[in-house]
Symmetry: C2
Subunit: 453 residues, 2 copies
């Protein structure tokens, strides 16, 4: 928060306490709603709603408050003020707020709302989180195909105060089935007596209400849409998802995938506000699982105890070799996970990508082998250098193959490919690496031990 905004909080607090609302409103006149929300969040709840009540664009400001802050404030509002505010909110955000209320708050609020709004909340809140239904709004502009441009413009002027966007209007029939889409740009460029039927684009890109929000965002990005119409099982138009919501989804889904890539189960909400208990629960699962996973590496080492004791120099290179497989494998896995998430790569690309990855891994492995064998020669002898070089190439190649394949395998069995996290890949590659390294060492160091070096 900037210093200007900090001063503004002090000014507002004084003005509201002294009932100087004109002064307070003048001080915030030039602020954008989202910035104003940041400022008002710093005020005490009672002061905040006394100002909000007098603010014409209160619903617009309130929607930018942090979710927890919205609920906290709502508790302080008189019922009539809250009902008025809630009525003025866009349908999708009204529903999100309502879902965050507990039962007693819901029971308190519902009777104060208009029947149509109650019904709207009931319908919208029934959709599963993460689907198009939970993301869409029911405030959209519709047109009939037998209107002309003049009628359509007049109609949109009437609808504009409520609709989320009037830049795209949807043409529907009596069963609310989507017939076409008309942009405001096309409307103002056309003669006023052109019929909407002639003007509309009939191949409308739309999505099903049960579709995943990630697919909704991808569609909006692919077709550069301002809004995507959402239809129910009968093909009837029931809502739209706008580009700004899609943009938030792109960012949220990327956050989820990044967290998963580090073995953190998905956290809902802000890291900064997450409780210690929540952070603990979201992290402990993978950590404990990996503890047991790493027992395999331990078992591998125990199995080759004799060769280690006889050639203690091997231990020196153990972390280096074993980690290299995990590192190269994590790179492969992350490249794949992200490419699958953005839709750049699909299942049937698997064979081609695996083939190419094998070549990349060979090149990586040989370079790393060259580096490590020099170290081996310095610290050991030619045989040790040879053991290290052979192990490095094998370990890196197998690591890359595991890293590249695991996201596809998970995806194939309908798991989230992002679960192929760096720690998981590292653990799998560690165990494999230990066995490969010590196996190669046991063969070469035994075979060559009689040969003068």
């Amino acid at each position: 928060m900037s210093n200007t905004h900090k001063n503004l909080v002090l000014v507002l607090r004084d003005a509201i306490k002294n009932n100087q609302f004109d002064h307070a409103l003048a001080a915030i006149e030039d602020l954008r709603s989202v910035d104003l929300a940041d400022v008002l969040e710093q005020l005490e709840p009672t002061l905040c709603w006394r100002l909000l009540e007098r603010l014409p664009k209160r619903a617009e400001v309130f929607r930018y408050f942090e979710p927890e802050e919205q609920v906290r404030l709502a508790l302080e509002f008189p019922r009539a003020t809250l009902a008025k505010l809630v009525s003025e909110m866009p349908a999708d955000e009204r529903t999100d707020l309502f879902k965050r209320f507990d039962q007693s708050q819901r029971d308190m609020l519902l009777p104060a709302l208009a029947p149509a709004e109650r019904e709207d909340i009931r319908k919208l809140s029934a959709y599963v989180e993460g689907t198009a239904g939970a993301l869409m709004t029911s405030d959209y502009a519709i047109l009939k195909k037998d209107m002309n441009v003049a009628q359509a413009m007049a109609y949109l002027r009437d609808e504009a105060p409520d609709a989320e966007t009037i830049y795209q209007a949807y043409v529907i029939d009596e069963q609310r089935r989507l017939l076409g889409v008309v942009s405001l740009r096309d409307l103002i460029l056309s003669d006023i007596d052109t019929s909407i039927e002639d003007l509309m684009l009939s191949n409308v890109v739309s999505a099903d209400v049960a579709d995943d929000q990630e697919d909704i965002a991808k569609k909006i990005a692919r077709y550069d849409l301002l809004a995507l119409p959402i239809t129910d099982e009968q093909g009837a138009l029931i809502g739209i998802v706008t580009y700004d919501d899609a943009m938030d989804v792109v960012s949220e889904e990327a956050t989820d995938d990044m967290h998963k890539s580090a073995g953190v189960s998905t956290i809902i909400g802000s890291i900064k506000d997450a409780s210690i208990g929540l952070l603990y629960r979201k992290r402990i699962f993978w950590l404990i699982l990996l503890v047991f996973g790493n027992l395999f590496s331990g078992a591998g080492i125990a199995h080759f105890e004799e060769i280690i004791t006889a050639n203690i120099v091997l231990v020196f290179f153990l972390p280096l070799l074993v980690d290299s497989g995990g590192n190269a494998g994590s790179q492969s896995a992350t490249l794949m996970v992200r490419a699958l998430a953005t839709g750049e790569v699909v299942m049937r690309d698997w064979l081609y990508l695996i083939g190419r990855e094998a070549l990349v891994a060979l090149a990586l492995g040989c370079t790393m082998a060259a580096a490590v064998s020099v170290l081996g020669f310095i610290r050991g002898d030619e045989t040790v250098a040879l053991v290290l070089a052979l192990s490095m190439v094998s370990i890196v190649m197998i690591g890359c193959m595991i890293g590249m394949s695991l996201p596809f395998v998970l995806s194939k069995f309908n798991f989230d490919p992002a679960s192929a996290s760096a720690p998981l890949i590292t653990s799998v590659c560690d165990a494999t690496g230990v066995v490969i390294y010590l196996f190669i060492a046991s063969r070469l160091l035994t075979d060559l031990s009689g040969v003068p070096v």
Copy 2:
């Protein structure tokens, strides 16, 4: 590519070879530009441009071709066709295409363009990649403050065919300084004789031409903008960045950060089309660096050689303990890197977050210590169990502190916090973990070895 689209490729190939262009155009009539681009990319270049030439929305389709495909096709186009197509492209995409051409292609194309277009390309291509300047387009709608609504609408109707969006129009003075912004929604809702000066919003959110594209995208998302006006050092309006470009930036930046989190240097372009050489170069740097980093772990182990030889059971638990620090640390680092990237967390939150992380780490460490000490007891004795428990708590806590702090430290010294990758954290934590574990073991196992257990 769907089967319908595959069949369409065959139909088009036949039709174009037989000069049945009406037939070809009818077959693709209902396709969206981006889908049509997917289909046309499958055709041989000569066939493709013969069809494109006859397509009214050719520029709209061409912009959706893959960048490499655009360049490949451009080579096959007759110069006049190419110049025509390039003129019809939006200014920002025309410049992107031009930047991908080699010098001979540029020399060939430039003389065929109008002087204004040449000047526009020259200006736009001067901006550094990754800044607002490289992202913006110069096709935007402007208004004068002394116009009224009727004049403004008439003006926008004339400008509409060229401007990237007419839903937002910018009011500028003689020095092209931004005075305000007017939305088409407000225009059509106002009386036709309202003056633009009265109607415009004067606190325009804008950005500087040198601003990072990530900040541009964040601003567009924060203020839910359709377009963000970009000004030069003198405050003159020189372009706009639209929401669809911002959405691509959000996705690209997330991809970059994910790649970095796995120790892959940033790859420009598509993974699928990247050459083996490029993939190799982007991955080898960190892999080699980490090989040398892991020497520290090896040195740590070598230092404690005696205690290992005397208590070979320690080796069994080595990978498990050491990896746990890296895993917990990677979780912390990834949570921080992403929170810094989305702007949810800023530098001054550091102390608060570190304090909370210490508590989370303690809880995680104790749980993991409980799990591992049971294993230690089964395989060893109480002393081993104690060594493992103490080591686990220390290693996890130190791992989390390193993971949480490194992104902040990198950010402080103006490095990208995303460079605090999982492999890097793992290597640092491995070396620390080896020393902690073997140090604790050497103290306890020596001290207690005389005590009957």
